[in-house]
Symmetry: D5
């Protein structure tokens, strides 16, 4: 819990902390913040967490929306280095997605290749959404991913 | 490449091999096989790979459809033990999904909890599909997952 | 050992430390604290440790009971991220449970599936208790777990 | 899938395979086998899997019950070496128990020590059961463990 | 060293072995084989090793060129699953490339992002060559890689 | 974020931070900095990151160019200890290079040995460049590496 | 090196540091400290290191003997959490014991089971000593361990 | 389970299997075998397991005693390569010794250094025994180790 | 233990086995074999183990000397892939060298850089010997390594 | 970068930092420091790094030579705990030695055992030197190690 933040040396972690604090004080949800900058909630959260870079105009909008110091805009626009420390995540909510990749990974590969030929789904030219679907036996989480198909080169 | 299979000791691996061989000879796709047993291609492939158990009537249908020995039906219906040996998968097509969990895992958790409260998306009461979406800049892979939301208990 | 805690940036770790300190000064056991908030000792301890979220009214009760600053209530009610750093725990008391999973894991799976069909015991819709059972050759620890059975989907 | 088993060099794996085959042909459940030798299903399954040693008279009973060759009795009675190869189990049914140890391990330790003093629950002088409990919102798996408390020595 | 290969169940490993054997008997280099099928030596070797799929017409050409059984063509054209078992390679020749990624990885990232913006070099839409460059103090290995730049999406 | 830096105990990390800060304030790119000291951008960045040692005269030039305290020159000239903590890098931009080593490592080895005999490409007597190549279907990243061939000794 | 220790939040690490400092100033050996509290040197050292809990009266004695603040007594009496971070220890003196377990582990198991039946030596109801034995070719370290035999349960 | 053993290519594993089989048929304990060759049971078992080399005359004695083919003597006398595959052993009987090294390792080091100065207990010039000690509350396993002290060199 | 070796598909493992067998039958030491081919014992052993490639004329000499089939010569001359599976070796004799690298690695680096500037000792342009040095307190193993110094490039 | 060092709680890390700072200010090499205390450069550097203990009189000499506070002498003389955190070192200069152990480990073992019988080279009763050897094709690093041979005990 750093006392004061030196504006000229602000890091992505500093800006993440400022936004989380501003979000709490304003009582905003991620959905509301996303709407204010006209982006999706998934992308907005991941960019705030330092896992994506804000396009400059979205960074400016974020600074205005959340009342951040002006210096934060360039920090939000920097390309992040994406580090995760748990090769196997322990949090149950995240682990379940890891388990899906373990159980269904070879199946995803087989069906993608049946439909497209040899290649992959890009995780870079990629987007994702989460929605709540009502269901009589208990509501369901719906996750939709979309990534560009990239075929292997032969040369 | 086992020479002959002792019918009374057939394993899931044996039946997987028989189906892959029959599929190749018949020139069928996973989509076509799935249609014949009236299940989805994703589930069908994962069950053939030994990552899910066939309901008895689907096992019978599979035996008829693919021309398997009768003993295969009970093997297809057994509960599998789900083992994957690479904690971090190396195949690029599967790795990209692992990367998505690493990059977006905390975001999936945050948005699920914003929409539902504290809990997880089940990976058991779960289904998934893969579709090809045409796109002028290159077609896209669309993956849709749906799992029941399970809220944490407090007691 | 942080000197002073900035109330507006209180973390789960801060609140855990406050409760442990208040517990020590008041000379309370976990059983007594649990009773005061009308929850079980196992759940209460795990939620104080930051492994479960307090329902809002229980969070309020906890704040009153333990004399915490008002701001602690919303922190106790936040969804935690569950991290454990030792894939194989070293503490002998915790290791023994890990060993039980290693030795009896395939057995638990076989018996659950014999009784319920293909599926799992939920660790989310789940509760647990520990009791002391007197025994002439040395008292015994009794651990009871109960989790909802979730059957695998086929689609 | 070994063709023939040399009776004088039978291993625990050989006997496990014989019992699984006999069980399938006879259409018996673990519960029924356990009843025939008057032991619990959990212990019976784990001993058949080679994770526990049969007392000599139970080994004899098992040989008669399942129609095994006489040489199997001494194999069943040998002390096993308990090996598990996945430090973090991947099968979802077994992983959930690993997750419980990760999430609740420090809590189990705290409550055991509150009730007994410094020490552990033995995983050797230990027994366990699994039962199905009916519940209107979906039946529940109940796991009960009981182990002797062992207090730390000081000398 | 399998005795005979069942043509109807030929695997990628079988075909790799056939090609290595034919290459040895014919006394060909990778460069010569690559020339015969009009592809690069790097791609040809990696596809023979089972790390890339042959386009159907190149597979046919390979079968003719190397005198393989006709069934090998469809195996060469199958999408491979790319597995490597040593997360840190031990062979010194391969390790040096791993070391380059360790030492220069953050630099590659910084310069790519300076030149292109936030994104990556594709390892799928990718090609590579190795050439020998004469040098008075000792000849040098020149490795050239070229991959499509993929910019991160924001949505 | 250290407040003040004791000049007599400056570390490589301190100097890296000073240069990053000066670069940001001056609005320079790595390419421009490299040009000012007449070295390549790749080498310059890696040496600033503490992965290479500056020759003394380049260290002096760097100090002048970036307006660093004089003491920084000897620090820049020290031999670094090269540590990377992620055996498998997670950042997607760096991971792709790791993947290339996994997929093409045995191929690089085979082709190098075909062209040079038994040996390796040095990662010490080594240089590298990154350039942007325009391409109608999307610009490409070109990476060129050159390292001295070292043949194995026999004695 | 914490400046001052807040008595109300003293940790086991704080007390360990106090004892090591007092030991150094008083010029005492572990043997002499152990004698003053009438315990063995092995147990005394391990409890000071935070790997065992002091019985309350020994904790009081320790406080008096070493001139610790009164608050230290309850800290010494708390049940510790036993963490070691190196799964394979690197210090040569400790590694040699790890090596002994690797080389002789299966032998210890075989001989214990030959003498006692199926079971283990407890590491909880356990004590150990180290003595110096004079020997003409160089003195020897003698380590004696004694642990209660625990036989496996069958139920 | 190899059918027949080619005498000219006998391995340590082959001889271990022969001795285990002969031991079973003769109904001998390790203690009795050790006595016949006038060595300790611990050493005898570890050498039979391939973790120590038999001195030539003991190898001859072993061959005579157990009725092995003459060729086994030179195999028993070969220097073994000591491999263990589980860095953290899972068998509970062996794990408890690993746990002792984890918990008491720093203590063993401190006491050895207090008694001898800086150095280690050799695991090479080393011997060990296991005995059963009767005790009213349950018999105890006594393990005694003795290794030469080796002081660190300074030069 | 393969029965017969197909000469046209001989592997390095096959040739290693042939040489070990011929060495045993001829009663030769590594020193004697090395002398016959006029190379050092260290290099000879490592090349026989498949960790170095024989120059063609030495391969021919080896074939004659050890009475190998003619086909073995080209196998001995192939470039090996150097794999070791234990990142931390367990055999005590090999582990001690690993320990030396752990303890003295930073020192070797510091002294090499003091004497040569920034760079490394090559492990490729490298040779090594082991000799026995008599010593009144016990003979000593002398290991001498010599590798070309390679200075880091800056470009 | 600690501000001030409390003399009564000086650690090995503190003294290492003092010596590195004094060395830099005095412009001394390790060779010169070693000469002043009449020890070898290798041993001196490793002991300064905290990987060996100074004999008391050498510790005193070091204090005088480098102008350290008197309290440093007893710290230098303490037995260190030898920790290294990278099981596989990443720094290229240190990695090359690790690679040598991987490639030549089994050879070192075979030749030591051929010359001495079953046993190891001690890494405790051990010394080492590094020298620069001029060579027309580039100077070479010569590393000489000498360790006492320890033969395995049989008992």
């Amino acid at each position: 819990m750093k006392d004061t933040i030196d504006m000229t040396e602000m890091t992505k972690e500093d800006v993440t902390a400022m936004i989380l604090s501003a979000k709490k004080q304003a009582g905003l949800t991620w959905e509301e913040i996303a709407e204010k900058i006209d982006m999706s909630p998934i992308w907005t959260h991941s960019a705030v967490m330092g896992m994506n870079a804000f396009p400059p105009e979205k960074a400016e909008l974020m600074v205005t929306t959340m009342g951040l110091p002006q210096e934060a805009a360039s920090v939000l626009a920097e390309s992040p280095t994406k580090i995760w420390e748990q090769a196997v995540p322990t949090d149950p909510c995240i682990y379940r997605f890891y388990e899906i990749v373990g159980v269904y990974g070879p199946t995803l590969k087989a069906i993608i290749q049946e439909k497209f030929g040899d290649g992959i789904m890009s995780a870079i030219d990629f987007d994702m959404s989460v929605t709540r679907v009502e269901h009589p036996k208990g509501d369901r989480v719906k996750v939709e991913m979309s990534g560009k198909f990239l075929g292997y080169n032969s040369w």
